[in-house]
Every structure is written in C-alpha cells, then in structure tokens.
C-alpha cells in the first residue's frame, strides 16, 4: 500500500499538467464559470456536512436534540454571515474558491474519505493563485473536477491529500503533482509537459479517452516545443530558471498558504462556533426575556382588568344555607318595613299629642280671655267647642293607632324571633341532628304572609266609638289652668318686670316668674346673652315672645319641665345656644320640635337616664339631632345610653 501510494504519487507528480487538462479547458471553463457562481449556494451543504461530521465527534453529554436544532439554525446563520462576509470583502475570493472546492469535493469522489487535512491541502490551492490569472483558475477547476476520472481519482485524490506537505517541499515534482501545479503559468506548464509527457498520460487520467486526448495534445506540443527550443534556447533556460524560482516561491507561498488556509478554516470554524454560541446565547436571552416579558405583559394587560377578573373569577359557590339565609333576609326586610311603619305611627301619635297640648293651651287662653268657667259656656263659644272636639277626635286617633301599632310590633317581634331561631339552628345544624331548616322556612313564609303591610291590616277601628267625653277634656283643661294659677308673680318680680319694660335689663337674671308682658319687653333687649336662670316655669305665650329676642344664648336652667307647646316656640328661636340644664326629662314629644331648631348648641346636663323608664326614642332623636350638626351637652351616662340607642 505504501509502495502503491508512492508510485501513484510519483506518477501524479510527473503527470501534473496541462496536457491532460488543456483539452478540457473549454468545457471546464464552463464548469468553472458555473462553479464560481454557484459555490456559495452549495456551500451550506458542505458546511452542513462538516457540521454533521463534527456532530459525530461531539463530546458526550451534549443534548443531541438540542444540538440538532441549534446546529441547523446555527449553520444557517453562520452561512449567511459567511456569505455576507464573502460578498462584502474582496479578499475572501479565496474563501469562495475554497467553498467551491468543498462543494466539488462533496460531489466528487473524495467525499467520505477525505480527512480535514486533505481538504486543507485542496483548499490551499487557490491561496497562492494569482487572482488575475483566469486561465490558471480554469485549470485548477478542471484539474479538480475530472468528471471522467472519478473512479480512479477517488483513490488518487485521497492519496494526494494524505501526502504530507513535507514531501512536496522536498521535491518540486511532488509539489506539482500534489496541487501546486495549479499555480503555474502557461509557460511553466509547457515546460513541465516537456519534461514528463508520457508519464502524465499513463498515470493521471487512467482512462482511454483522456489518454487519446493526451496523445493528440502531446504530439502538437512536442512539435511546438521543438520549435521553441530551437528559437529560444536561452530564453528557455531562463524560463526554466524562472519556473524553478517560481516553484520555490510557490513552495514558500504554499507554506504561507497552508498557514493562511488553516487560519481561514479556523476563522470559518470560529465564525461558525461563534455564530452558534451567539445564537445559543440569543436563544437563551430570548427565553429569559420571554419569561420576563410574559408576566409583565400579563401584568400590564391584567392590571386594569383585574377588578373585573376578580369579580368574574370569584363567584361564590352556592352555600349550604344560602336558601335559608335568603329567606331570613326577606323576613328581615319585612321587619324593617314594619319597624318603619311603627316609627311613623309613633310620630303620628306624637303629632296628635302635641296638637292636643296646643289646643288645650288655646282653650285655656280663650277661657281666660272670655272668662268662661263651665263646659256649657265653653260649648257656646264656637272656637272653644271646635278645639274641644278636635282634642276629642285626636285622642280617639291616638287610641285608634294602638291597634296597628301593636300589630306592627307583634309582627316585627315574631319575625325577629323566627329569624333568631332559624339562625340558631343554622349555627348548630352541623353538629346536631333533628334540625329541619325547611320547617323554619315554612314558618317564616307564613309570618311574611301574615305581616305583609297593607291598608286593610293597618286599618283602625271605628274611632267614633272611642271618643272621650267632652266633659273629661274640659276638666283636664281646667286642672291645667289651676296648676298655672298657683304661680303668682312676686313683688320683686313685678318691680324687675317694670324695670325691664322701662328698658333697664340689669336685674333680668333675678327674675323668678315670667309674664307674657315681661317676655314681650325682654324680646326688645339688646345683647347676645339672656340669663333667666331664676325662672321655674315658662308658659307658651311667654315662650312665644322670648323666641323673638334676637340674641345668641338664652339660659333657662331652672325650668324642670317643658311642655311641647313651649318647646314648639322655644325651638323656633333663631339664636344658637339654649341652656336647659334643669330638665330631668326630655320627652319624645319635644324632640319633634328640636329637630326643626336652627340653633347649634343645647345644654341638657340635668338630663337623667331612668333605667326603669328608659325612653330610647328620645335619646335616639337627641343623637340624631347631633348627627344633623347640633352640639349636645349631656352627662356621660346619658351619652352612653344615646350611643346604645343609636
């Protein structure tokens, strides 16, 4: 095998030349032209082949699947990069040729057996090729692509490639036979043909057709050579010397070319690997980026829609007791309606009560004016009679309201009881047996049906049957007048009143009794404060005049009771501060007028909360008045009760 290879190498080195190749030059030029245009198109395949080779040599542990994906893409990228690089850089013509040759190699017989060194040798050929020498280029291509020489060239090329570079350095022939012949000029080629014509024919092609062509060409060449030798003897020697020199230069350039080839290949491999690594990095970055971006995009998109999503994503699953709770809510709504109606009834009741008090005051005033002392006389007075009948009717109304009020109260209490009982059973339903919640629903339904508000259910009975006799009413008024008559005006108060009416208000605070006249005079007083803390009673007409005083603060701290009529006038006063610290009670009837007062501060420090007579409604209204902007001064105990009432 060694001998054979040596023989072949020697024969090849002898052959090298043009004699075989020149006849094919025209045809090969076409091939060359196509190859020059096409190589880069084919280069990817070549690169892929290399990558496939390199893949097989890839270290263990590398993910094959990933490799395949990344490598394919990397190959595309690297190829594109190389392609662009070649196109842009004229110096990369060598690379073009290199790719071209690689392409040829892949199509040629040396595909599989060529080791990388062989490729480097082959690709090194054009490196020392003169770019302008197109003819030589053609030869290069024609030498390397002998379509007819495929069967033989397989082994030959492999052996050529396998030959170490040192061999070609030792022998110029070997250089030529190896691949350096491609760099020779036409003249040099001629010289080489002259030197070893026959050996070329026998060894290079190994086919009859090429041999025939070689014979023809060798014949013509010999004749020409003879003529040239004769005419240019000296020139021939010079040419030989030049050839030798060039071959030496070629050797040197071959070394450089080999190293540059290696650099080029290395750079290409480096580019491919760098492209691959960049691609891998980019893909990693992309993956990371995607990971980062996706949530951001989600958050950006999600944030504004978040409330809707929450609403949409959190539908409450139907609870076990939802049905029962819904029914209880219905009962609670009805109960609230009943309580509201109860409040309305209560207010109406207060309205009638206050109206009765006012009417009684009017009757009382009228009695004093007209000096009526008996019911018979009073009934003759149309005004008094109508007032009395109005009082009678209103009292009947108040009695008539009791029934619907009781019905509403019972309804609200029953509904509350049913609700509480049902809730209690719901509370223990999970730990106890024998609880029939549907039974609760039935009871609640029945109660709802029973206590639905309607005019029929709220209708009062015939109130005319409940009329209080006029005599009773008349006696009540007379008793009221008798109580008032027991408060005579003292001598001192008469003097003070006289002073007040004369414009002297210095002793106002000493006044212990009030008259309508005195109140009228006081209403003319200038000043912001009016201290009437000596007064223990206040009549409606007195309150009526006092309410006209244009001051800011009025003190009535000795008054222990306040009738609704007095309250009605008092809370029409346009001042801002009333002190009623002597009141121990503040009946709900008064609150109706308090709510209409435009003042801001009310002192009720004497108000006491009787546990045995708690009137939550009055406290509730007082608290309500505060919520409307009023400021109430009460004791701490009352304050707590107010908070409880609210």
């Amino acid at each position: 095998m060694g001998k054979k290879s040596n023989k072949k190498s020697s024969s090849l080195s002898d052959l090298e030349p043009l004699e075989e190749q020149e006849p094919n030059q025209e045809a090969l030029k076409e091939l060359d032209a196509r190859d020059i245009i096409e190589p880069l198109k084919k280069a990817p395949d070549n690169i892929d082949d290399r990558w496939q080779d390199s893949e097989t040599d890839a270290p263990e542990g590398m993910a094959v699947g990933e490799q395949e994906i990344s490598l394919d893409e990397a190959a595309e990228i690297s190829f594109d990069e190389v392609d662009r690089h070649i196109d842009s850089d004229p110096e990369n013509v060598e690379t073009e040729v290199l790719l071209d040759e690689n392409d040829v190699e892949t199509n040629g017989p040396i595909e599989d057996d060529d080791p990388p060194e062989q490729e480097s040798d082959e690709t090194a050929i054009p490196l020392y090729e003169e770019p302008d020498d197109s003819q030589v280029e053609d030869q290069v291509v024609s030498d390397e692509i002998p379509p007819d020489a495929e069967p033989k060239a397989d082994g030959e090329y492999s052996e050529i490639v396998e030959q170490p570079v040192e061999d070609s350095q030792h022998s110029p022939i070997a250089d030529k036979s190896g691949n350096d012949f491609l760099a020779l000029d036409d003249d040099e080629i001629d010289d080489s043909i002259d030197e070893k014509p026959a050996e070329e024919e026998s060894s290079v092609t190994g086919t009859e057709e090429i041999e025939d062509v070689g014979d023809i060409h060798s014949g013509t060449r010999k004749a020409e050579d003879k003529k040239v030798a004769e005419l240019n003897g000296t020139a021939q020697e010079e040419k030989n010397l030049k050839t030798e020199a060039k071959s030496q230069i070629g050797k040197i350039s071959t070394r450089g070319a080999l190293s540059s080839k290696k650099i080029a290949i290395g750079s290409i491999i480096f580019l491919i690997f760098s492209g691959l690594s960049i691609y891998a990095l980019l893909s990693l970055i992309d993956i990371k980026g995607k990971v980062k971006i996706v949530p951001e995009a989600k958050s950006q998109i999600g944030e504004p829609v978040e409330p809707a999503q929450i609403q949409a994503q959190t539908p409450k699953p139907p609870g076990k007791y939802d049905k029962y709770l819904a029914k209880l809510e219905e009962a609670e709504r009805l109960r609230n309606d009943l309580l509201q109606k109860k409040e309305e009834i209560y207010k109406l009741n207060l309205y009638y009560r206050n109206g009765i008090v006012e009417l009684m005051d009017q009757v009382s005033d009228e009695m004093q004016k007209t000096n009526i002392s008996s019911l018979a006389q009073a009934l003759k007075n149309n005004r008094i009679e109508l007032d009395l009948r109005t009082i009678q009717r209103r009292q009947a109304y108040i009695q008539g309201l009791e029934k619907p009020n009781r019905w509403v109260h019972n309804g609200s209490e029953e509904l509350l009881f049913l609700k509480r009982k049902a809730l209690l059973d719901i509370q223990i339903a999970e730990i106890a047996s024998g609880i029939d919640l549907n039974r609760h629903v039935r009871y609640v339904n029945a109660a709802i049906q029973k206590y639905q508000l309607s005019a029929e259910k709220l209708a009062v009975d015939d109130y005319t049957s409940n009329f209080t006799p006029l005599e009773t009413i008349w006696s009540q008024i007379k008793n009221q007048n008798t109580e008032r008559a027991h408060t005579p005006v003292s001598h001192k108060d008469e003097k003070i009143i006289a002073e007040i009416c004369s414009g002297d208000f210095k002793r106002v605070a000493e006044l212990s009794t009030m008259t309508a006249g005195a109140a009228k005079c006081l209403s003319q007083m200038n000043g912001s404060d009016l201290f009437l803390n000596g007064l223990k009673q206040l009549a409606p007409d007195e309150a009526k005049y006092l309410s006209r005083w244009p001051g800011n603060w009025i003190c009535l701290n000795s008054i222990d009771t306040l009738s609704p009529t007095v309250a009605r006038y008092l809370f029409k006063w346009e001042g801002s501060w009333i002190s009623l610290n002597g009141l121990t009670e503040f009946p709900p009837e008064l609150t109706l007028y308090l709510m209409e007062w435009k003042g801001h501060q009310l002192e009720l420090m004497g108000l006491d909360y009787h546990k045995k007579k708690p009137d939550q409604r009055a406290l509730k209204y007082l608290a309500l008045w505060e919520t409307m902007g009023g400021k109430l001064f009460v004791t701490e105990g009352v304050r707590k009760e107010m908070e409880r009432a609210m």
């Binding site: 009881f417 009982k421 509370q427 730990i431 106890a432 007579k613 708690p614």
Partner: protein, 192 residues
C-alpha cells in the same frame, strides 16, 4: 459405632431444627403482637385526635350559645324595666320577653346536650389515653421479654374503639330530643 454416631447426629439435627422452628415461631408471634399493638396505638391516637376535635368544636359552640343566652337575658331585663313588668304572666304578654324566653329554653337545652356530649367525649378520650399507655407498656414488655399476653388488651381497645369511633361521625346531639327547661323558671332566674 458408626450407626450410633449417625443416630446421634440425626437426633441432634432434629433437635436443632425443632428449636429453630420454635424460635422462628416465637419470633413471628412476637412480631405479630408488636405490629398489632402498634396498629392499635395508631388507631387510639387517631380516635383521640378526632375526639379532641369534637370536644373543641362542642366547647366553641357551647360558648357561642351561652353568649346568645346572656344577650337574650339582658334584653329581657331591659324590656322588663321599660314595661315595668314584675310577674311572669305579664311578661309573656310582651312579645319580646316571651320570644326570648322560648329561645333561651332552646339554647339551654342545646347547651345541656353539648355539655353531656363533651363529658362523654372527654371520658372516652381519657379511657383511650389509659389504654394507649397500657399498650405502650406492653409493647416495651414484649420487646424486653419477647412475649406477653396482649389479647385481652387488644379486645378492650377494640371495644372502646368500636364505641367511640362511630360517635365521631355522628352529630353531637339531636335537636328534637333536647330537654327544655321551664320558661317560668328561666324568668325567675333572670328576675332574681
């Protein structure tokens, strides 16, 4: 001589085999007992955990019911003060008082049932703890002495497990069979 020797060897081998079989049997029996006791201890621990949960739940519910009872009693007191009611006969005419008394009757019945159940579960828990301790002790004995009579203990454990395990899956009490206290007695307790 040779036959005697052979006989002796045979008898020795037989004895060794017998001893081995007995030893293995003992070992296997000991292993079974250990496993069974361990299993029973696990069951006891599990049941104790269930009972503790039930007791905790019952106590929590009981507290809630007692709070409700107190709130209703306070409401009755207020209503009584407001309406100035002294007698029970008048009190039941006031809807709020009447209804609250009925609710209190129910609540007290529930609380009584819960108390009964809590006591029952606590008793079971303690009994299980006792058997668990005994099982632990017996296990140590078995490990030390290689054997101990445990069938009786296992039977006792099974008995108490059979008694209390179904109870953990049952309701704590039957609301229909709750004993209701007399309303007038409740009223008197509130007033006095």
């Amino acid at each position: 001589m040779g036959t005697d020797m052979m006989k002796h060897i045979k008898s020795s081998c037989t004895a060794i085999a017998m001893i081995g079989i007995l030893f293995c049997g003992t070992l296997s029996a000991t292993g079974y007992k250990t496993t069974e006791i361990n299993r029973k201890m696990t069951e006891i621990a599990s049941l104790q955990h269930s009972l503790s949960s039930k007791i905790e739940l019952a106590i929590e519910k009981k507290k809630q019911l007692e709070q409700k009872t107190e709130a209703l009693k306070e409401e009755i007191k207020q209503e009584r003060a407001q309406l100035q009611i002294e007698s029970y006969k008048r009190a039941v005419l006031a809807p709020r008082i009447d209804y609250n008394l009925k609710l209190i009757q129910l609540l007290l019945g529930y609380v009584a049932s819960l108390n009964e159940k809590i006591k029952y579960f606590q008793n079971g828990h303690e009994t299980l703890g006792y058997y668990f301790q005994q099982a632990q002790d017996d296990l140590l004995m078995i490990k030390t002495l290689n054997d101990l009579e445990v069938e009786k203990l296992i039977a006792q454990i099974n008995s108490i497990l059979d008694e209390y395990t179904p109870e953990t899956n049952k309701p704590l009490f039957d609301a229909d069979s709750v004993p209701l206290e007399d309303a007038e007695r409740i009223w008197n307790d509130i007033v006095n």
